[in-house]
């Protein structure tokens, strides 16, 4: 681990002994936690084999319906991802415009939607819009809420990425006689995309996690499906189904997070990306990002 070399010197005999003692205490602590959880599970009968077998029993249909629900989750996520990337790019272009009459209103839109909770937007699409005569089904209510929120967040990521490119790049391009659209397209965007990629992917992971808010309005994604299976089978299998749902979420998100980390490492190694000591400043420009 890299941080060890920062904080600790190479250990002498006394230090090694202290670490061994600490490790033993740590093991006892962790084993204690695991034992407490197991006792808790055992005493409420949650460890009985047939309760868990239902997850893998094809006759129960649990696995199949959870799989279908996962597809619903991914469908909503991908549609919202596509829309919010495109709209976010337009908003970012608007915020970077030279004309104040474009820049100001776009900035207000972006700051507004970034500053309010996603769930409020989903509720507005689901409960509010029908009152205004616009009827969306569950899928589109969720997708509209996710899109409006994430386009604003992504617009800020795009803008920060463009602004993080060294000013000399655009100055040189202008000096060559390129127009603003050409400077963007040929010089700035190709460099910015490489730098933004990790931030974009981690925002998309967040979007995928947020599809679980579909549960709140009744869209049949993973969590809602899990709940309705439990309502159908009874509370006897409650914990097992919920654990299965959580594990599916963690598996999907973890693989996307690992992809983001891989891209991060690859970008850092790529000689085409100018290594800028202030590249970290990309983060603070996005102060309202949702974790």
């Amino acid at each position: 681990m890299s941080q060890e070399s920062v904080l600790y010197d190479t250990l002498g005999p006394k230090g090694r002994r202290n670490v061994r003692i600490g490790t033993v205490i740590g093991v006892v602590f962790v084993v204690g936690i695991i034992a407490w959880v197991l006792v808790r599970l055992e005493s409420t009968g949650q460890l009985e084999a047939d309760r868990w077998a239902i997850l893998f029993d094809p006759d129960s249909g649990v696995a199949r319906s959870l799989g279908r629900a996962l597809l619903n989750t991914l469908r909503a996520a991908f549609v919202a991802m596509a829309f919010s990337m495109v709209l976010g790019a337009f908003l970012a272009a608007g915020r970077l415009s030279d004309h104040a009459w474009v820049r100001r209103p776009v900035s207000v839109i972006v700051q507004f939607f970034r500053g309010i909770p996603l769930l409020l937007l989903i509720f507005f699409a689901f409960l509010g819009l029908p009152k205004l005569g616009i009827n969306l089904d569950l899928f589109w209510s969720l997708v509209v809420g996710l899109t409006v929120y994430n386009m604003a967040v992504l617009a800020e990521i795009f803008r920060a990425g463009i602004l993080s490119i060294d000013r000399g790049q655009s100055e040189a391009a202008y000096a060559l006689g390129l127009r603003k659209s050409q400077v963007m397209r040929i010089v700035l965007v190709p460099q910015a995309v490489r730098r933004m990629l990790p931030a974009i992917v981690s925002q998309l992971v967040t979007l995928l996690k947020d599809t679980s808010l579909g549960f709140v309005i009744g869209y049949f994604e993973l969590l809602r499906q899990g709940r309705s299976i439990v309502e159908f089978l009874g509370p006897r299998y409650g914990l097992q189904i919920y654990v299965a749902v959580a594990v599916m979420y963690i598996a999907v998100n973890l693989s996307l997070s690992l992809l983001a980390r891989y891209l991060d490492i690859r970008t850092a190694r790529n000689p085409k990306v100018v290594t800028d000591p202030y590249a970290d400043e990309l983060e603070p420009v996005v102060p309202l990002g949702r974790e």
């Binding site: 941080q3 409420t44 500053g115 507005f124 709140v216 969590l223 409650g238 102060p287």
Partner: protein, 216 residues
């Protein structure tokens, strides 16, 4: 506009619930996150594994699922909270602790290795190195990400609306059927409440950030 003027007290109590939920969860998240960060940078493998597993699990589980577990799954293990509000404090706090831990850890890792080496070279012991050299610098690096975590958490508290906590978002969903003509005003009312919390937090964060900025 009747919807707002007639229900100002409802909005006010929703606003207070959002604030108290965020503050209590923030307190829990900050203390637990600090402990987890200490675990993760400690030289004892079992503790750093525990920290890593906690962070990976909670960071990759949607908050809705965490909240759902507090309300629907823990009672199956005979663990119940005395109120939905308290369940919310734990859901939001336990979830956010993972992000607090990651911010603190990245702050410690951002301190240049030379700083700790120099501290050891002049004879400071482990505690002194941490207290006098590493932590004061790490704390400054950590301000912007911690501020982001706080703002995100205020917005995340809205998920309480789905689990019987009557905060700002729940107020809007409650009023919308009574006053169908005022939909936009009703939602704008709740949105204003959040913006009153997030925008000043963002501005204050910018000021603190400039004050404590450390030159590398």
């Amino acid at each position: 506009m009747d919807a707002i003027t007639e229900n100002l007290d409802l909005y006010w109590s929703g606003f207070l619930t959002t604030i108290s939920l965020s503050l209590l969860a923030g307190l829990l998240a900050f203390s637990l996150g600090t402990i987890l960060a200490a675990f993760r940078v400690s030289p004892f493998p079992p503790l750093s594994w525990l920290g890593t597993v906690y962070v990976e699990v909670f960071r990759n589980t949607p908050l809705t699922v965490v909240w759902f577990f507090m309300v629907f799954a823990l009672p199956l293990l005979d663990i119940t909270f005395s109120s939905f509000f308290l369940a919310g404090v734990f859901a939001l706090g336990l979830y956010t602790a993972a992000f607090v831990c990651e911010s603190l850890r990245s702050g410690i890792n951002a301190v240049a290795a030379g700083q700790a080496e120099a501290a050891r070279a002049i004879g400071l012991n482990f505690g002194q190195t941490l207290r006098l050299v590493v932590l004061p610098q790490a704390f400054r690096t950590v301000v912007p990400p911690l501020g982001n975590v706080w703002i995100a958490m205020v917005k995340n508290s809205s998920i309480g609306a789905a689990f019987a906590v009557t905060e700002l978002t729940a107020v809007a969903t409650r009023l919308v059927n009574t006053y169908p003509a005022d939909v936009i005003a009703i939602f704008a009312g709740s949105a204003t409440g959040y913006l009153l919390l997030t925008i000043p937090s963002g501005l204050a964060l910018g000021v603190v950030e400039r004050k404590v900025a450390v030159l590398r």
